[in-house]
């Protein structure tokens, strides 16, 4: 599974990395560290990736198989 963070939508709510710290991390200002990137989710962490994406108020995280 891959996740992509839309850099124009992420406003730094911090919900993703709070709920799923194994998958998502903050940058210095509290935005998702991988804004604008497409990132491979480590094996076994699909559930966390989904949970983090689901609580993003901006719907900034897109998941793809």
């Amino acid at each position: 599974m891959k996740y992509t963070v839309d850099g124009s939508l992420c406003t730094g709510h911090g919900r993703c990395y709070t709920v799923a710290p194994t998958v998502y991390a903050p940058d210095d200002e509290g935005y998702n560290l991988r804004r604008g990137d497409s990132v491979e989710v480590s094996p076994g962490q699909d559930g966390d990736a989904r949970r983090g994406a689901r609580v993003c108020p901006e719907r900034a995280i897109e998941l793809a198989e």
């Binding site: 939508l9 406003t11 730094g12 709510h13 911090g14 919900r15 709070t18 709920v19 903050p26 210095d28 200002e29 509290g30 949970r51 689901r54 609580v55 993003c56 108020p57 901006e58 719907r59």
Partner: protein, 404 residues
Amino acid sequence: METDRFGRDIETDFDIDDPAFNEHFYDVLDTMVARCPVAHSKVGKGYSLLNRYEDVRRAGQDWRTFSSAKGFQPNRPEGMPYLYPEESDPPRHTDWRRALNPFFAPNAVKEFEGQIRADANDLIDAFADRGTCEFIHDFAAQLPGRAFFKNLIGVPVDDLAMLVEAMDAGTYGPVEERAASFGRAIDYLGDFLARRRDEPPRGDLVDLIAGGVEHDGEPCSWEERVSVITDLTFGGIATTTFVMAGALLHLATHPKDRETLVREPSRIPNAVEEFVRYYPPVVALGRTVTKDVEIAGHRFEEGDFVLLNYAAASRDPDALDRPAELDINRESILHTAFGVGPHRCIGSNLARLELRVVLEEFLRRIPDFALKEDTTPEYETGVLRTMTSLHLVFPGGRTEGDAR
């Protein structure tokens, strides 16, 4: 009809300042989410509300069509100066947020944890032996102001009461007096900022604001800088109080949840997020439509004023299961209490920190408390919502009269 059992038809004739909204808050919000994706008001120049999560998100993110530059209040009082960054659009908004954000990042606010914990304990010390407190006055109205003043701007804590009073009156007071009440806070903060401008720099947030930002290579005006410190102070003291009060009310009336958090403080951060969702201090803030657009099946025209009903969107069953239930153990908490789009609350990390520390300390010091008999909490609601009294009793110096 389902939408007019509140003394007026909330779909076509809503009034956010109507005491009936204050009284039937959740019922009105849930009815709006279920029955009216868009509601309308005839008050003053009139305004509309978007009530569902997806629509609120779309409008909040689309700042070009839904502009903040003409203010967040419906029927904005004459003579009220604009509050930045709140009442501005990019690029002016971005210039300020870029400069301010680092002071409010999760890692930056973490530094304040010890001071906030000490202040929480100070305030608890004053009533712990008494066995009773009026939580708003004794605690919740004071802690956020102290946290903001001491850690971020260094305004004397003694002046807090005056500022809280002026900003409350500017929000909930008689409409024709709101501009003047707010003006008192602006004058005070303007004087404070001017004094700091003339002192040697300390490299802090106040220096940054006093120095201003540039728009297109031109330094911004002095008024704009005063407006920024006012907006931050307003956000810093007028909001978190309500979540704190809501959390304590819930825990006073739900012993099982209270016991869970006393036993397992590691569950507090999740509970905090649910309290923020369920007790939204910011009910709905407005945008001005800049071009004709259709949203939620309604055609809006240029110049229309639309409120993003954040409080309703946080109770949308399409975004969250069982939204009417406060569940501190909820797994996926999706809400818009901190807004959505570029105006996302700049203080959200500070607010979460304050709420976590307050619950940790209160539950550690006073693990067993209840609502005082024959009292009911009182609320006040407009575009913001707050609680004005919450009487709690607990063992300790409890006297006969405080029986539960």
